[in-house]
């Protein structure tokens, strides 16, 4: 592609100055207007655990403008066999396997406690069939604590065997199915392995999604000196700065293809990284793996972006 770029619709270098983006108010996601631009990546910050470890001091310096839960499934999941993580060149592989208590206990035990957080909540859900997804959306969507839902479509559809997010039609059917079940905004988290990211994003938009987020982790693996995979299930998902250039290209492609707000992520560690995503066309960014290295990595970015926004003539109040 890069080698030839012949015939393709090669994007140009045209400048989308992040400073200009920041001077405007962040767009609404359906009926939800995020109070700032920094989310966390789903599954990379357990706010309840963090509150236990860091105490209420965390509330005063909460690193994100919107909190996204880890992905919740209908039934409880124990997660994958260890080892579940392996470090690689400026990034990491994970094969966590979505451990969670299932939606029942999540709604009963975790959601009320998450409501203590000083920021709006977004709940990530994944269903292994459209029926499962529908049930999840209906149940989560009716809860007052929830500002928005994120549909993690990286799972294989048990009926078709296709990974939902890899196929525009599958994605559209999933979103169409759940769209009538809630008034809450729906964010579709795209799968980075789709052959045509833009087509999947357009399908999500046409089916009624209110925003798209990307990227999820890239399938990857690593081996030790004896040839044994470093992860329990043999492979995992790559995250961290290593993936940033690829993620930026995908965000740019998607942001050009849809008129929905885009939440960009992949390797964001510093404010300059976040600004690159804004340049690529994202309206929001999410901090993932960087929080593992510094639980407050998001805070510096949150503050920097808010401060830059406030320098605008139309000053906005951001906490």
């Amino acid at each position: 592609m890069s080698q030839a770029d012949a015939g393709g619709s090669s994007p140009d270098r045209a400048v989308r100055d992040p400073a200009t983006t920041l001077r405007c108010e962040p767009p609404a996601i359906g009926g939800f207007r995020p109070p700032g631009r920094v989310f966390n990546g789903s599954g990379t910050f357990d706010a309840l655990a963090a509150l236990e470890v860091f105490g209420d001091a965390l509330l005063a310096s909460f690193p994100f403008d919107v909190y996204v839960s880890k992905t919740i499934t209908l039934a409880p999941r124990p997660g994958n066999p260890p080892p579940r993580i392996a470090e690689c060149a400026i990034g990491m592989l994970n094969s966590i396997g979505l451990p969670n208590k299932g939606v029942e206990r999540f709604l009963r035990e975790e959601l009320p406690r998450l409501a203590r957080l000083p920021v709006p909540l977004c709940v990530s859900v994944m269903g292994f069939s459209r029926q499962e997804l529908a049930e999840l959306v209906a149940r989560v969507g009716e809860r007052g604590e929830v500002a928005a839902l994120e549909l993690n479509v990286s799972c294989p559809n048990v009926e078709t065997g296709l990974v939902v997010g890899q196929d525009p039609a599958e994605t559209a059917r999933a979103v169409e199915r759940v769209r009538p079940l809630t008034e809450k905004p729906l964010i579709v988290k795209l799968t980075p392995t789709a052959a045509d990211q833009a087509a999947v994003a357009r399908a999500a938009q046409a089916a009624g999604a209110d925003a798209v987020s990307l990227v999820n982790t890239f399938p990857g693996t690593a081996f030790d000196a004896r040839g044994s995979a470093l992860l329990g299930p043999g492979r995992g998902g790559l995250s961290g700065p290593a993936i940033k250039p690829i993620a930026l290209a995908q965000v740019r492609e998607v942001a050009t293809a849809v008129s929905l707000p885009v939440i960009g992520m992949g390797g964001i560690c510093e404010t300059t990284d976040a600004r690159e995503y804004l340049a690529a066309g994202a309206s929001f960014v999410a901090v993932g793996t960087a929080s593992f290295r510094d639980p407050l990595a998001g805070l510096a970015i949150r503050r920097a972006l808010a401060a830059e926004g406030q320098e605008s003539p139309a000053k906005r109040a951001i906490v």
Partner: protein
């Protein structure tokens, strides 16, 4: 989890009476975020390095068995792109906060090379530390190799009111035993160059045979810990074991440190690293 799981499984309770409420908090809350501390000194301790840091912004009395996520403030990323994540290390002493580091890979080697005056990023203290021994029981600290690190902090907190059985590869490694300030210390080495020629669990078996009201506190390689748990079960004495798992975050964010107990998988960084022997599957 914790005792609940063991209780549910109907195991025997400890032989001595436990205090209703432990005297130390198992967990001391950490300041949120990563802070920078200055390295005060770096000196050899047997085959390991002892690094003292000036952690003004951190809590004064972390619980023995708690750990910190460490990364050098500069030059952390190696030429092959690793280490990138921070690495977990138990504190071997508080005031000043100190770590005992075995240079086994890129991250620990970088930390072991820190010079006085250089900066180190730290998050912590993290995890659940040791509970104090029940009144009347003799605290028996069982350590293998670098596993003596949290036992150093424990002996310090107990004011030396404990006994230690420590196993090392050889006499050089065993020089680090000086960091465990117990009333009585018995050593074992793999090569017989100092103390008992053999495993530290041989020493443990002998000590338990001799009898008395013991409570075990162990840290070391996983097979050693499993053997200690087995010995504790057989002798019907309580044992608290500090385990290891790969950790990306140390504060419950990544779910990477899965550890199996009777109640299922748990996050070792949150519910451990100190695990009650009776909770093992």
């Amino acid at each position: 989890m914790g005792r609940t799981a063991a209780a549910k499984s109907g195991q025997e309770g400890p032989p001595t009476v436990r205090p209703g409420k432990s005297e130390w908090p198992r967990r001391v809350t950490a300041p949120p975020g990563r802070r920078r501390a200055r390295v005060l000194c770096n000196r050899a301790a047997g085959r390991y390095r002892l690094i003292e840091v000036d952690d003004d912004a951190g809590p004064r009395r972390p619980t023995p068995g708690q750990f910190y996520m460490l990364a050098s403030a500069e030059g952390w990323l190696g030429d092959d792109g690793r280490p990138w994540l921070a690495r977990p290390f138990s504190h071997v002493r508080s005031e000043p906060l100190a770590f005992l580091i075995d240079p086994v890979g890129p991250g620990s080697r970088r930390l072991a090379a820190l010079q006085a005056g250089q900066g180190v990023h730290l998050v912590g203290p993290l995890g659940q530390g040791f509970r104090p021994p029940a009144t009347g029981a003799t605290a028996l600290l069982v350590g293998g190799g670098i596993g003596i690190a949290p036992l150093g902090a424990l002996a310090q907190r107990l004011g030396g009111a404990c006994e230690a059985l420590l196993g090392f590869k050889d006499a050089l490694a065993a020089e680090a035993a000086a960091l465990v300030a117990a009333r009585r210390v018995a050593l074992a080495t793999d090569d017989g160059s100092l103390g008992h020629h053999g495993l530290v669990t041989d020493l443990l078996a002998r000590r338990l045979e001799a009898g008395g009201a013991f409570e075990l506190f162990a840290c070391g390689p996983e097979p050693m810990l499993r053997a200690v748990a087995e010995a504790a079960r057989a002798a019907n004495v309580p044992a608290q074991l500090a385990f290891e798992a790969p950790m990306a975050c140390g504060f419950g964010a990544c779910f990477g440190c899965a550890f199996e107990t009777q109640a299922g998988w748990m996050r070792l960084c949150l519910e451990g690293p100190v695990v009650d022997a009776r909770d093992l599957p």
